[in-house]
């Protein structure tokens, strides 16, 4: 069985954990511009924990729940994303379990979720 050391997976997750912004989006973004502008409906500063063991395997970081993200445009949110403005890079994107209509200048909340890198197979 091939092995990728947990420290190597953790190094990759550290890049994700360095996210400076989290967005809610009206569609799945595929790059920084789409996440932070084209599809963005709201934003907040994410809080990402340190790496730990994931289930069923691999390593993960947990992005903390959000209670007061800022809605910046009116629309229907279907995805959320993590970006790093320093490197202008989209780090991760995921669909919401349910779409949600949002109105500009309101706030939004998100439940906590994991970003996982599975073990090598």
């Amino acid at each position: 069985m091939p092995l990728i050391a947990p420290s190597a997976l953790d190094a990759a997750l550290a890049v994700v954990a360095a996210a400076t912004h989290q967005q809610i989006c009206s569609a799945e973004p595929t790059n920084f511009t789409e996440a932070t502008s084209t599809f963005r409906l709201g934003t907040n500063t994410p809080s990402v924990g340190s790496a730990g063991n994931a289930s069923p395997d691999g390593r993960k970081v947990t992005v903390a729940a959000v209670t007061s993200g800022s809605v910046t445009a009116t629309g229907t949110a279907s995805h959320h994303s993590l970006t790093n403005s320093t490197g202008s890079v989209l780090l991760a994107a995921k669909s919401l379990s349910a779409t949600q209509a949002v109105v500009s200048s309101n706030t939004y909340s998100l439940t906590a979720y994991d970003v996982r890198i599975p073990a090598a197979v």
Partner: protein
């Protein structure tokens, strides 16, 4: 007109046009074949969560999974107990036999040209190469 490389895959021209590597958008009929990892990538692979019919939700104005599917106790639930429904690239629940929209994460990336319109970067075109996209973006920036 200034051209600034903001990252390895992002160029901004004159403050009003951007070129950035992206994934093209495709549509297809949801099926095990389309949802295979080799075609759409693992993030659309939630086959056990795919449900049947959709109904119009008068409250939200959106198409939602049928109440029958949402009430099905065998459907996977999230932490709040709500039925998990996986969604395509534009937020529509994925159903076998129905059209879904996906980003082509498996094929070669393309280069999108984005124009700043009312303070939002709007995609106006896609090109296969960075050179093509930059040439066209430069023309757009000079208009």
């Amino acid at each position: 007109m200034t051209t600034e490389r903001l990252s390895e895959t992002l160029i901004e021209i004159g403050g009003t046009v951007r070129v950035e590597q992206c994934r093209c958008t495709k549509t297809g009929i949801a099926s095990p074949e389309l949802l295979a990892n080799s075609v759409t990538g693992s993030h659309y692979q939630h086959n056990e969560h795919l449900v049947g019919k959709m109904v119009f939700n008068e409250r939200t104005g959106l198409m939602d999974p049928s109440k029958e599917a949402l009430d099905d106790p065998t459907m996977p639930k999230d932490a709040s107990g709500a039925t998990l429904v996986y969604r395509d690239a534009i937020g529509k629940p994925i159903f076998y036999g129905e059209e879904m929209t996906y980003r082509d994460w498996v094929g070669e990336p393309v280069w999108g040209v984005y124009q700043l319109t009312d303070d939002i970067w709007v995609k106006v075109a896609e090109y296969e190469t960075e050179t093509e996209a930059t040439v066209e973006a430069t023309k757009l920036g000079m208009k």
